[in-house]
Each structure stands twice: as structure tokens, then as C-alpha cells.
Symmetry: C2
Subunit: 288 residues, 2 copies
């Protein structure tokens, strides 16, 4: 049996699956303090004999195995969680192989594993309160000295947009211009209270499409998945596709856009399904 954790800033999803990848049980836990939340995580998994665990966590996290703080959540605005030794805590209770990565990498892996066509690469971008992305290339999660932080890429400003942006670091990076929190700052009300016809969606689509063009030019993944709360806005995905075509200027010959840029096949389960698949992966690789 495999265990999976999708550790989000608002809630944790924990699940166990059998060898045929069927989910046996799945629970949601509020993200409060590490002590409270992790106690429930441990209690959940103690009911099962899991052989490995896949963890996709909100970030930033330390993924460098040579680092003293490998397995930690790094500096985060989420109260109580900065410098929390997440992996170390789990290892105290379960002496089993664990795959440690970001929540968005796990979602990318989940979508990659569950695609109905035979893709080898997949980029997953979540556009929610913040913007973040994960990347699978040739079947492997891609990290360099750090995990991706692609939600913060610099974008070209739209001529008619004077909003200064909401990112505390960069101001008008992608997250500063297209995240849910940037919409709230820009408009004084939440994005989900806006009409489909609101012109701001054209701006959001313009910035997200620019990011997708740039990701395509750098790594050309075979599929791009757009998740997160902001993507619940009807018609946004089609606006993004249209802008993507417009900005590409027929330069890169990409897969048909409806196939290339998609919403998650797994819906909100991409992260937890990916975490379970990563548990399977780490066990296989440890056995080899």
C-alpha cells in the first residue's frame, strides 16, 4: 500500500492506495499548526501498512539532498510552518522510502501519469491565491538548484494596464498581475465575484498566455495543465488559448492548442494522485 500527502497552505489531503492505484481512503485536514496538523497525518497513516510515501508540499521547500535543511519547509508566510522539518517529522514515525517534492510538481506528475495519450512531459501551472508550477520532462520531475518558481516570471506589461502588481517581491511579475490575490488588490473584491464579461479577464489571459509562451520556448512540454481557483472562471481557458496563439506568432509549431493547454483531467485530485504515484515511483527505484 502507498501513502500520499498533498500538503496545501489551507488543507492537507492524505490518502492511501493499493497496488492497482485505487484509493482506499482519503481524508482532508485543516492546515493549522504543524503540531496539530501533523498529529492527524500520523494518526491517519498509522492505520495502514504503507510501504512508501509521496509528499507534495506547499513551498518554498528544501529539495537539496545535500543540504542540512533537506525536507524542510523554508521561509513561508504561513504561520508556524517556516523552517518546519516536514520530512524529518514523518521519518520519525515511518521508516520507509519517501518522495519529497512540491505540491505543483506532484500535480504535474499526477496529470502526466494519467494522460490518456502517451506524453513524456507535462507542465502544471496553478493559478490561485498565488501562482506556481511543476514540471515533468521525460518522465522525471525537473529540479535544478531549486524547485521551479515559475509563477514569478517577469512578463511584458499590457499597454492599457496601470496596476502596479501585488507581488511583495517583484510587484508586477506573473503572480503580481494574474493571481487571485492580485485580482482582489486590483479590484477591491474577490475574482470569483466578477462577471465572465469583465475586461480584467482579458488582462489575466494575456499575462498567463505570455508565461505559457515562455515556458514553451524554454522547455516545450507536450502538455500544459492550468489548475487553481482562478481557472474556475468560465471561458478563461479559451481566452488564454487565443492569446497564446496570438503571442506565438506562428513561431513554434506546437500541438493543437485545445490539446496543448488543458484543465486538469484529475480536477482537484491531481496533487494527491501525483503524490501517490510518486510513492510508487520511490519504492520501485529503491528496489532497483
Amino acid at each position: 500500500m502507498y501513502g500520499g500527502i498533498e500538503a496545501g497552505g489551507t488543507k492537507f489531503v492524505c490518502a492511501v492506495a493499493d497496488q492497482s492505484r485505487d484509493i482506499i481512503e482519503k481524508i482532508k485536514i485543516d492546515t493549522t499548526t504543524p503540531e496539530e496538523t501533523m498529529r492527524q497525518v500520523i494518526d491517519f497513516f498509522k492505520q495502514y501498512h504503507i510501504k512508501s510515501l509521496g509528499v507534495g508540499s506547499f513551498g518554498p521547500i528544501d529539495i537539496n539532498e545535500k543540504s542540512d535543511t533537506f525536507g524542510y519547509i523554508l521561509t513561508t508566510p504561513k504561520s508556524g510552518w517556516s523552517q518546519f522539518d516536514f520530512l524529518g517529522y514523518l521519518k520519525e514515525y515511518f521508516d520507509i522510502p519517501m518522495y519529497w517534492t512540491t505540491d505543483v510538481h506532484a500535480a504535474a506528475y499526477g496529470e502526466y501519469m494519467n494522460a490518456t495519450d502517451n506524453i513524456k512531459s507535462c507542465l502544471y501551472l496553478t493559478v490561485g491565491t498565488g501562482v506556481g508550477g511543476g514540471l515533468v520532462m521525460d518522465g522525471e520531475i525537473v529540479n535544478g538548484f531549486n524547485h521551479p518558481e515559475m509563477g514569478h516570471i517577469i512578463v511584458k506589461r499590457h499597454d492599457e494596464d496601470n496596476f502596479e502588481g501585488s507581488c511583495p517581491y517583484h510587484g508586477d511579475c506573473l503572480e503580481g498581475l494574474a493571481s487571485g490575490s492580485s485580482l482582489e488588490k486590483r479590484l477591491g473584491r474577490k475574482g470569483n465575484t466578477l462577471e465572465t464579461e469583465d475586461e480584467v479577464w482579458d488582462l489575466v489571459a494575456y499575462y498567463i498566455a505570455q508565461a505559457l509562451v515562455n515556458y514553451t520556448l524554454v522547455v516545450s512540454p507536450e502538455r500544459i495543465i492550468l489548475g487553481g481557483g482562478v481557472m474556475n472562471q468560465e471561458l478563461l481557458i479559451q481566452k488564454i488559448r487565443n492569446q497564446f496563439i496570438e503571442l506565438n506568432k506562428l513561431y513554434v509549431t506546437h500541438p493543437a492548442v485545445d490539446n496543448y493547454i488543458q484543465i486538469p483531467r484529475l480536477g482537484s485530485n491531481a496533487g494527491i494522485v501525483g503524490a501517490l504515484s510518486l510513492a510508487e515511483k520511490v519504492l520501485l527505484e529503491n528496489k532497483i
Copy 2:
């Protein structure tokens, strides 16, 4: 013995190396017509008993093994070379394993293999007549449905820059604003006739640094190498490093910038050395 070809739009470099990676002979051939140039390539390698061949070619090229035009140079402004079956031509004369990739991927691989520290990833950006990049992550060249075209990423315009850009596709993408040909169009004279103090170098540094910030946010390679003729401008690399730090806003904790952003250790040999290393790689992988 291994063979390597760095196929550039102006000249080809061909070399053979022995098993200790020492180069036995290296020649340069003008890039004229495929018939003329390739005849000399074949004659050169026929003198040796090469066991495998690494080819890094100017692009765009078809790297999709399932494609009917795998191994071809695709549509290129270089007269006579569009739709040339490069790999097929070589295979007619040499029935040996071949590694087929772009010139910039080969350069990235060369720099990765010859780094004195133990890096696993390396991004190589050439800023010359055009701008192009190659990428090695976890020791492997990274391609998706296409090889990277990262020289064409969309950048944010500098407030004081009104130049429309020179890219025939995008206008003011990175290549359209920072390549050698864009400098010539912008100023009416070649970049290598400019003074070090010319203000245009600050603009060039701003756009290149922006691209490097975005590459870092997407894949965070452990090293970024900047090659190509424009980089011969003294002080440009330092201006780029300064702008990189400025644009990052202390967001990503990257390696020390002098170590992170470098000129090629191998100088102008990065491409051919990489091609030879790829010949070695393809032979090893075929043997397994």
C-alpha cells in the same frame, strides 16, 4: 575513436577524439551548399574509424524520432539547407550510432561535462547574430515536443527603449532586442564597433538578465553560460550579473552570481567538445 560535428550557419567544425577525449584532428569548413559542405565532412571522417558521431546543428531541426523528417534541418533562412536530411545523409556513409541535437544543446553539454565542480545542470545561451539556448538537467539534454527556442522569449520593455525590435516573428522578443543583428538594426552599425561605455549595453544587459531570471524561475540550472559574439563586449557579463541581481529582488536564493553566470570555460570549443561527448554518450547507451 569518436567523431563530432558542430554545424553552424557560417562554418562547420568537425573533429575526432580518442577514448581519453583528446582531440586528434579538427577542421573548419565553410557552410556553403549542403552538397559542397557535406562532401568535405564525409571526406574528413572517412580518414578515421569512428565508432559514433555527435552532431550539434544550427536550427530549427527535427528532433522527434517518430517524425518522418527526424534528422532534418527544418525551414531556415540559410539558402539550400531548408528540409535537408542531415542525419540521413550521414547515415548513408557511416552506419554507426549518432547523437542528433542542436548546436546550443551540444555547447551546453560540453560546458556541463567540463565544469570543474560537480554540477548536474547547465544552461548555455549564445548571444550572437541570433540568440539561442541549450539545456542540460540531471545530466540529460532537455527536449519536449521541440528543442528549446529560448532566445525568443517575451521580455518586458525597458521604459526608455522605443526600438521596435528586429525579430521577423515577434518584433521585440529577446532576440529582437539583444542579438547582434538587432544591435545593427537599432544603431545602423555593427555591435562590435560600439564603445564599451555606450548606453545600449545597459539595455542589452537588462534584456538578457531578464531572460536569465525567467530561465532560473522555470528550471533553476546550476550554471548559466553566456557565449556568442555579442558577449565579446567587455564588461557586458558584469552588467548582466548586476541586472540579474537587481531583477531577482532577492527572491530566488541562487548560487553566487560570479559562479552562476559565466562565460564558456571552453571558449569557442564548447560546441565541438560537446558534440564529441555526445558521441561518447550515444555509444555507451547503445552498448547498454
